[in-house]
Symmetry: C2
Subunit: 219 residues, 2 copies
């Protein structure tokens, strides 16, 4: 499946921008942050989605054999966060101050590690009750809750996560906790600053438009 995203009235002149193609499974997963960033930044791209059944045949045609990969004209860029950071730069979503930019990088790595732990449970070959137990006894108290406490404190006196304006860290925060909240509807209840932040991010008109129009997939 190929989808060409975003409006033809994109701000940047097409001639000055490389041609982008994001290759991933037909899923949100590790590509969705980059899709949000491109939606927010009016970056035109081809959203190439590989069906699971086609992956064994496609794998050897992908430089490095892994997805997501972003084709920048004919040059492949692997690694989901490297792709997202690069696109965030093009979309003006990186703080100009080096330390603020580093805070965004650190949050991205922390959220990515947290999601890797969550996926480990989600895709483990154990039954639903065991998954619930692992979430309740380990993932939530040891990883998710301490992070939510820190984020709630930080966001209590800031409009945005770093640098006084919206960055890719805000988009990732919104994406990740919106996703987790769908599975655990009360998760953010005692973290009102985080909850408000997530609500603010998903209500951004271009993000809302992308969420409402994107293909329905289980992950």
């Amino acid at each position: 499946m190929k989808l060409t995203s975003n409006s033809p009235t994109a701000i940047r002149a097409a001639t000055t921008m490389p041609e982008y193609k994001l290759i991933y499974f037909n899923a949100r997963g590790r590509a969705e942050l980059s899709r949000w960033i491109m939606a927010y930044g009016d970056i035109n791209y081809t959203d190439e989605r590989i069906e699971r059944a086609d992956w064994p045949a496609r794998k050897s045609t992908i430089p490095g054999g892994k997805v997501p990969v972003l084709m920048v004209d004919d040059k492949p860029l692997p690694q989901s966060l490297a792709i997202a950071r690069y696109l965030a730069k093009q979309a003006g979503l990186i703080p100009s101050d080096d330390l603020d930019a580093a805070y965004c990088d650190a949050l991205a790595d922390t959220l990515s590690e947290m999601m890797a732990e969550a996926y480990k449970i989600l895709f483990a070959k154990i039954d639903e009750d065991e998954k619930k137990k692992k979430y309740k006894d380990d993932l939530y108290p040891n990883i998710i809750s301490p992070l939510l406490h820190r984020l709630d404190k930080r966001l209590a006196d800031r409009e945005w996560f770093a640098g006084g304006k919206i960055t890719w860290a805000d988009l990732m925060l919104g994406l990740v906790f919106q996703g987790l909240r769908k599975k655990q509807p009360t998760m953010l209840k005692e973290f009102s600053s985080v909850e408000n932040h997530v609500n603010k991010v998903v209500a951004l008109p271009k993000i809302k438009q992308w969420i409402d129009s994107q293909p329905e997939t289980p992950f």
Copy 2:
């Protein structure tokens, strides 16, 4: 243990630079790349090393409860690669071209994932024979060797990994494969471009000086 590193003749005026303190275990591990970057860039810092026995008492005093953390004046920056990228920026080790900078980010994540898999085996509660088998049957053929093939091809016609000049990706490449080569002396034998690259990086005068003078630790 506290060590104050690098020469007092550092190029930058002390007044314009923040005070840096890198807090980690008394080990190379996930802090060593940042130490190499600071050695290369003549960045003064306090190298605070926590002994394992002292960790339970210190953990609660560390913002976020995890190391490495870089104190930038009084502000804590967590996450080893966010720290390294920030310091690389200060040391002039990030390419000015966005896509070249993204290639460095992607390599850093790929090497970091590879090392995480290597550490999993190294620290697994299995005997030495089982570790050797996991290395031989899984880690080397599925993860290390494919990456070495790609890197060897890339470095065959380039003096540096990205952007035509030395970057933090070259330092990380040197650090990681020098470390693995110590454990597996023939590892780079069929990858002469990678081997030459590693040798070139570890022979850089400031890197050599740091390697020769750093505390001896098992990891």
